[in-house]
């Protein structure tokens, strides 16, 4: 994703461009619980903003409702903290009318995969140029421990005290199953360098970049990824020259699967998972997919030109 020019006047015409530091991109002190995976995602995002030197006024973070949706408040950019499940329509409206802005949508698992599911699946199909980050801790945290669509089957919560009844929804296969899908990656809160590289790849992808971050809620799902955190053998890293290259993770995790991200069929197979291993990396990327914001982009006219066009319209209805 990269913003294009909107008007001749929207550049920094005064030309004072200083290097922005991570502090410049930081706003309020995060109020997430210690150990929450959101901290890791925020850190990686701040690093991305800094490394790309994104203009703060040209960047918008949209979110829904949930712990993760506080994200925009901790960044010194524009933000829209909207409704539960509805970050994507707002983000879509912004990017369609303002292609010059860098747009990010931050969602939790309840947000994206439950109440906002319809928007998620259609956003994949629109393929509007933005980064969509699913901060998936497998639980409703803000409302205190209710089952989410991605809660592992059998996991006990306040609403399903005998354990979650249904098999967990797989956000990766769901996304990869949608027509016009163009970028799907998975990373985790305990691999910050990999998380950063994934965001970077997502940012540079032209189209709707879907990044799922596996993360823990220190209160309600602290143990869900212990197998992966404690035993690197339980992680399989997708590697490829066209994928996400991150030496630290490549050193730590010995199980590598060489996966060409242009192979949708293989991506779907890998996303299905297998033998309880956690797969991190780039599953799929295809920049050739049509982007709705570009398909629908139209030339702009001055007020006088619009009046000329409208008068021609009125002629059609003239008595």
């Amino acid at each position: 994703m990269s913003g294009s020019q909107f008007s001749l006047l929207d550049g920094d015409v005064c030309g004072d461009e200083r290097h922005l530091t991570i502090e410049d991109y930081s706003s309020a002190v995060p109020r997430w619980c210690p150990g929450c995976g959101d901290h890791s995602a925020l850190g990686a995002m701040q690093r991305l903003l800094e490394s790309e030197q994104l203009k703060r006024e040209k960047t918008v973070f949209c979110s829904g409702i949930g712990c993760s949706s506080r994200f925009p408040h901790y960044l010194k950019t524009y933000g829209f903290h909207g409704l539960h499940g509805r970050a994507l329509p707002v983000a879509t409206g912004i990017k369609m009318t303002r292609p010059d802005l860098n747009v990010f949508a931050i969602m939790g698992d309840g947000d994206c995969c439950s109440i906002g599911l319809g928007h998620w699946l259609h956003a994949v199909r629109y393929n509007v140029d933005m980064v969509a980050m699913l901060l998936d801790n497998n639980i409703y945290g803000l409302t205190k421990n209710q089952t989410s669509p991605t809660t592992p089957q059998g996991h006990k919560s306040n609403t399903q005290q005998q354990g979650s009844y249904l098999p967990a929804l797989n956000p990766l296969s769901a996304t990869l199953g949608i027509t016009n899908c163009s970028f799907v990656a998975q990373t985790s809160d305990w691999t910050p360098a990999h998380l950063f590289q994934t965001l970077k790849a997502a940012f540079h992808h032209k189209g709707f970049s879907f990044v799922r971050v596996l993360q823990r809620c220190p209160h309600f799902t602290a143990g869900i990824y212990q197998d992966a955190v404690r035993h690197p053998d339980n992680v399989e890293l997708l590697t490829h020259s066209a994928g996400i290259c991150e030496p630290e993770a490549e050193g730590l995790y010995k199980n590598h699967i060489s996966h060409d991200p242009s192979d949708l069929h293989e991506a779907r197979r890998l996303a299905e998972g297998g033998n309880g291993k956690f797969r991190l990396g780039l599953f799929f990327r295809d920049e050739s997919r049509p982007r709705y914001n570009e398909t629908r982009a139209l030339p702009k006219y001055t007020a006088e030109e619009k009046i000329e066009i409208l008068n021609a319209e009125l002629d059609r209805y003239a008595v």
Binding site: Q5, S7, C14, I22, G35, H39, P192, S241
Partner: protein
Amino acid sequence: MQSDDRVSRTLKELAGPISAFRSALASAVEDVRGILSTWRSAQSDSGEQRRAELGSFAAGRIDAERFATLLAVEEEVDAATVARLETIFDLLSDLADQKESVVRVKVATGGVLRDAVAGALARIGRAFGAARVVGLSRARRYEASLHQRFVNEYPYFLWSSSERQIAPPLVVEVAGQDVRAEALAEFLDGRQKIVLVVSGKCPPAPLARLASPGVYVVQAAEPVELAGFTAYQGPGIAALVPESAALFTHVPRAEARSWDRLKIARLPQEDAVIRLEGMSAAWQRECLRLLQELAAAPPAAAAGPSAPDRPASAQVDRLAAWLLKRTDLQGL
């Protein structure tokens, strides 16, 4: 006339980027109109303006004077600033009205190609200069002695990197004897595109010397062959050449070497050079030889793509890792 026909077909091929620039111009016209109307209403007579803005449905229903007082803007703007903006509004509107003609250049026979291009870009650049003046005025940092000239002429060397991204392509009609294209190298930056529509006798490879790694260079016979050139998101130069000249395409690609980038479709014999004033046969031949050399792959050109640079682990990663380690997740 053949030349005119090629120009209009070239303009059609370039319609996308030309329209993008015009959109940016139209947006800028509306930007300035917006600022002006805010400033004017801050000055005086805002009632009439507000009444008009509210439309005729509001007539008899909304008290426009009261509406105006409520929305009064506190900004204080002097008359000179408003007048300056009005000039800029006219300038931008004028550029927007010129439609395609703003990107067309004709080099008089015997004229200097480089100067004609520089002049055209400086005229287009007035749009950027005007935008700067608006920004400076808005930020209260305008100084006539420094900035006045921006709206008269705004030469390419002053353009910022983002301005170089949205400048429109130029379509230049030039006689073959005047195609001294190597002098255009300084304008091949950002996404600047230049198409030379060449007529008459022409050296065989006038663009060869411009084929640097990131520049799209093409010598073609027909405008329809410019689709890839138009779509390329970087600088490029094209020449529509007569039959005597070489036809080739140089497409920049990451990690590609010159022989991967350059494809020659037609190569005249070295003795096909033409007698032209100011371009010796040797000079013309040199261009052809350069072209051949760039296109020739060495025998063992099987080198795979080099491994990408590995990013050093950043401090932030370590900080995040440390934070996570500090938090005993199991204990919670």
